[in-house]
């Protein structure tokens, strides 16, 4: 039974520790599993280690002088701990990094082209682009203007679209809702759900906006201080009293930015 469940994880991260600059221990034994075809959320406050966890999976740690000092990451059963970031993209892992980061001086069309895997034919790329513009019709209208001048929401859509061009099996998003109006967050999360269902892409979503994230994922992990302090189904997390109190607020939307850090830490780490 246990074994069968294992086999269905597209990603599993086992007791991973990450060091930056060989001294700064940013995550301290994080284990996260993504079942194939599901959407999983990684929640936690500022500096908890969410982005570091994603970078350990995508391999982008190296660009920031970070490395995995313990534990391993396996993707579809293969240990990828030592694989170069660009080759992980080829294997089907794509990381939509924090802060949108579209190629500002390129048009949306060119942003998508830049992400095309080597060997993708022109017609396949065109078909891919049209599919992405179908998901994000707003983007289609601006496909030939400079991406740096798109609105925040459009840039986030473009960043997601650009990741889709790489043909991911696992799509990781780092705070896609950051700085966006609630209706836009809803729109983008709806599209993520659609992509997940229609393409079977597994999704690992990092969010501070727990309320919105728990609506679309099946399970969530809560990270504090570089450790997983809670893991459960979205339903269980939503009804957990701590989460309710500090993350979901009394009916109104609260995100982690507004919560005092010490009180949370006291609860989960003592």
């Amino acid at each position: 039974m246990q074994e069968k469940v294992e086999a269905e994880h597209i990603l599993s991260m086992n007791s991973v520790e990450v060091l930056y600059d060989n001294v700064m221990l940013a995550i301290k034994g994080v284990s996260v599993k993504v079942p194939k075809g599901e959407m999983i959320a990684l929640l936690g406050s500022n500096g908890a280690g969410k982005s570091t966890t994603l970078k350990a999976i995508s391999g982008l740690l190296k660009a920031e002088r970070g490395r995995i000092s313990r534990g391993e990451v396996t993707f579809q059963g293969t240990d990828i701990t030592e694989v170069l970031a660009q080759n992980r993209v080829g294997m089907g892992i794509c990381h939509v990094i924090e802060g949108r980061r579209v190629f500002e001086h390129l048009t949306p069309d060119e942003n998508l082209t830049a992400a095309a895997p080597r060997g993708m034919s022109r017609s396949a790329l065109n078909a891919e682009n049209e599919k992405i513009y179908d998901y994000f019709p707003r983007l289609a209208e601006r496909r030939n203007s400079q991406a740096g001048y798109l609105s925040g929401g459009e840039q986030q859509m473009l960043a997601i679209g650009r990741a889709l061009v790489t043909q991911p099996k696992l799509l990781m998003l780092d705070e896609p809702s950051l700085g966006l109006a609630p209706f836009l967050v809803e729109e983008i999360f709806g599209i993520l759900q659609k992509i997940n269902q229609e393409e079977g892409v597994s999704v690992l979503l990092v969010e501070q906006n727990a309320l919105a994230a728990l609506e679309i994922v099946s399970q969530g992990y809560l990270i504090e201080n570089g450790r997983v302090v809670m893991h459960g189904t979205a339903e269980a997390l939503k009804s957990n009293s701590d989460i309710q109190e500090f993350y979901l607020g009394g009916g109104e939307e609260t995100d982690f930015h507004n919560v005092k850090h010490y009180s949370r830490r006291k609860r989960w780490l003592s």
């Binding site: 660009a63 970031a85 660009q86 190629f103 095309a116």
Partner: protein
């Protein structure tokens, strides 16, 4: 005012200016990918010329074969520079990469001096030195040829930056981290930009070597090339072409007015003034891009 004479000055100035552009295009290619002005571009240009000489005069190959072969060799050298030296500096402050290019320039000058000595040699392209008259205006044939090469390279690169590889290079110029995140090999892209700049160095080396001989002085083209690149905006190939023409005309016409007044040396003063004023008044040059800031 002698209008024929003035237009002759302007036209020849523009042609010389396009030869500066020819040099500056190499600088722009590297700046786009690495965000540093390559201080070794002068050294590369000189090496490019020497490699052509080594293949043609020393090894006896015909020029039509020696030049493309030199381009291939220099293409490899450009990739090698990224592999051996630059890759180690990834993520370090840009000023370190700048210093690396300075060190590379000194190295290239030293090694060419050691191998080929200090005496000036000529390329001998076989372009006639017979004056060419366009109406009443005299132009130099070799300058005309060089300007044509510069414009051809300009067009070639404009087209190249629309191809998929070219778009990936522009993406790298925008954001390394985002490029890695979608599987673009930043290292290979930077290597390619050095390789292409090294090929441009062969073209500039051959033309300038024909005009002023091949010796250590060839590496000093960096000063005017850099001025043109800065005026054009450092990351714009179109900017490099237009700025080259502007600098060439201003230099040639200006020197004709100023030389009698200051008794010579005014060309250098004009170039210096253009560089300094550009940096002070318009740091992004004529066509340089600003970082986009949305409000």
């Amino acid at each position: 005012m002698d209008w024929v004479f003035l237009s002759e000055l302007a036209i020849n100035g523009a042609l010389t200016g396009l030869l500066y552009s020819l040099f500056a295009i190499g600088l722009v290619l590297i700046y786009k990918a690495s965000s540093v002005p390559n201080l070794a571009q002068g050294g590369l240009t000189m090496v490019g010329a020497y490699v052509v000489l080594a293949l043609s005069h020393d090894a006896g190959l015909p020029l039509w074969l020696a030049i493309p072969l030199a381009a291939v060799i220099m293409f490899g050298l450009g990739f090698g520079i990224e592999r051996v030296a630059l890759r180690r500096l990834a993520g370090r402050p840009v000023v370190m990469i700048l210093m690396l290019t300075l060190g590379l320039d000194i190295f290239l000058r030293g090694i060419t001096l050691a191998i080929w000595g200090g005496t000036s040699r000529s390329v001998d392209l076989g372009v006639s030195y017979e004056p060419l008259f366009l109406g009443d205006i005299f132009v130099s044939r070799i300058h005309l040829v060089g300007a044509g090469v510069a414009l051809a390279l300009f067009v070639a690169f404009m087209l190249f930056f629309r191809t998929r590889t070219g778009i990936k290079l522009r993406a790298i110029a925008d954001d390394y981290m985002a490029s890695w995140s979608v599987g673009i090999s930043v290292e290979r892209g930077v290597g390619l930009s050095w390789a292409l700049a090294s090929v441009v160095a062969v073209a500039a080396g051959v033309i300038w070597g024909e005009i002023q001989g091949v010796d250590q002085a060839l590496s000093l083209l960096l000063l005017k090339g850099l001025t043109v690149a800065v005026l054009g905006g450092l990351d714009s190939i179109l900017g490099a072409v237009i700025a080259g023409i502007i600098l060439g005309v201003v230099e040639n016409v200006g020197a004709d007015f100023l030389d009698p007044l200051v008794g010579g040396g005014s060309r250098e003063l004009i170039v210096a003034a253009v560089l300094i004023l550009t940096v002070m008044i318009r740091p992004h040059g004529l066509f340089g891009r600003h970082d986009i800031e949305r409000v």
